[in-house]
Subunit: 226 residues, 2 copies
């Protein structure tokens, strides 16, 4: 795994710290680094085939984003999402993504809507093929796209970060609600296309409530907190 990452990182020429950050995020989200796992700088530097400096800079951002917790003089460990943080995250998402849906409804151009519909089609197709990974990916893309259409950079960047965390928590809970939620997505895109802000907000709320309920069901199993 370390070799794969190293090869990939070496190939591109973005700043190393950004590549490390991206790799670190996905490694955490994918569960390659498990909650509570200790992330020493040397270890990460070796895993990614870079020196400690880019690693440190990436760790600071990962800390600000809440993926890792840094203990003073002890270094970083992967954050441990508790069921409490799930509740908190959904409470914030409810406020933010409903706003995003409203703004998207008010501002979406014909091209925007067409792009969303295209994602919807691909999603339906992937669902039929039982390609769950692809469905999950399209799911993300759809949500992120709506955020982008909202045209509010603050909203977009904050909600995106939250969304990544939700993905992480879901993955940890082994939830695969994606196909089930596709119908809600269609409602949402319909509402956005209609240009009706209230309706879009309502659709987003319904979607989030369902997702939240599903998250709770999966959380029943319990995470190994701390």
């Amino acid at each position: 795994m370390a070799e794969d990452l190293r090869d990939k990182l070496g190939a591109q020429h973005l700043p190393l710290r950004d590549q490390v950050l991206a790799a670190l995020r996905t490694a955490i989200i994918d569960g390659d680094y498990l909650p509570g796992e200790r992330l020493t700088e040397d270890r990460l530097a070796e895993d990614f085939g870079v020196s400690r400096n880019p690693v440190r800079e990436a760790l600071r951002v990962a800390e600000a984003e809440g993926f890792v917790v840094v203990l003073p003089r002890r270094g970083a460990v992967v954050a441990s999402p508790s069921s409490g943080t799930i509740t908190d995250m959904f409470a914030v998402r409810e406020r933010l993504e409903t706003l995003a849906a409203r703004l998207a409804a008010e501002r979406a151009t014909a091209t925007d809507v067409a792009a969303l519909r295209a994602l919807l089609d691909q999603g339906r197709e992937a669902t039929q093929r039982q390609d769950l990974a692809r469905v999950a990916e399209l799911n993300s893309t759809l949500h992120l796209r709506i955020l982008q259409i909202s045209g509010n950079p603050w909203l977009s960047s904050i909600a995106k970060s939250l969304y990544l965390h939700v993905q992480w928590v879901f993955r940890l809970g082994a939830a695969q609600r994606a196909p089930h939620s596709w119908a809600e997505h269609i409602q949402l895109v319909d509402a956005i296309e209609s240009g009706d802000g209230d309706r879009a907000e309502q659709a987003a709320l319904a979607h989030l409530d369902a997702a939240s309920a599903a998250a709770y069901e999966n959380a029943e199993g319990g995470y190994g907190a701390r």
Copy 2:
């Protein structure tokens, strides 16, 4: 007493990068570094009397928080808030701080309320003394305290970051609305004390609308372009 010692020992040591970050933030908010100004690593390192490494790590976080913009291979410049970002920020704050007010109303203990009332008193006093700087400071403390009482770390940290930005924009516009807004604060704390979530949310909304309107008036003067 044992706790006192632990708090002292643990809290005493602040990593240099955090000190640099704090200093950088306040320097930007206070207008010591003006929007568009170039921030070379060497210059910052010298200004703060540290080496480049802590500066770089602080810069990454400042970038994530939106205080600086980093141009690839060119380094960092202080971000330039436009009137567009003001609108966007208030749209998000409206969703977030109303939620915070509701949660605070639902969860505030007697001690929490007492602390808020104490801030209110100090604020009234400072207003009488015409000590505007102190009023502004108490203003911040009050808002941050409410966020903390909400008990949602995500909400708290996101809204805090937004709040710092608003302070910045206000300072740039030379707005001193603080004394004027104090009456709204009293309403808000009253609502939180009552435990009525709807009422608290309403009070927060009224406060934000007034602040937003004031921000716009000041923005008329015009900020540098996007």
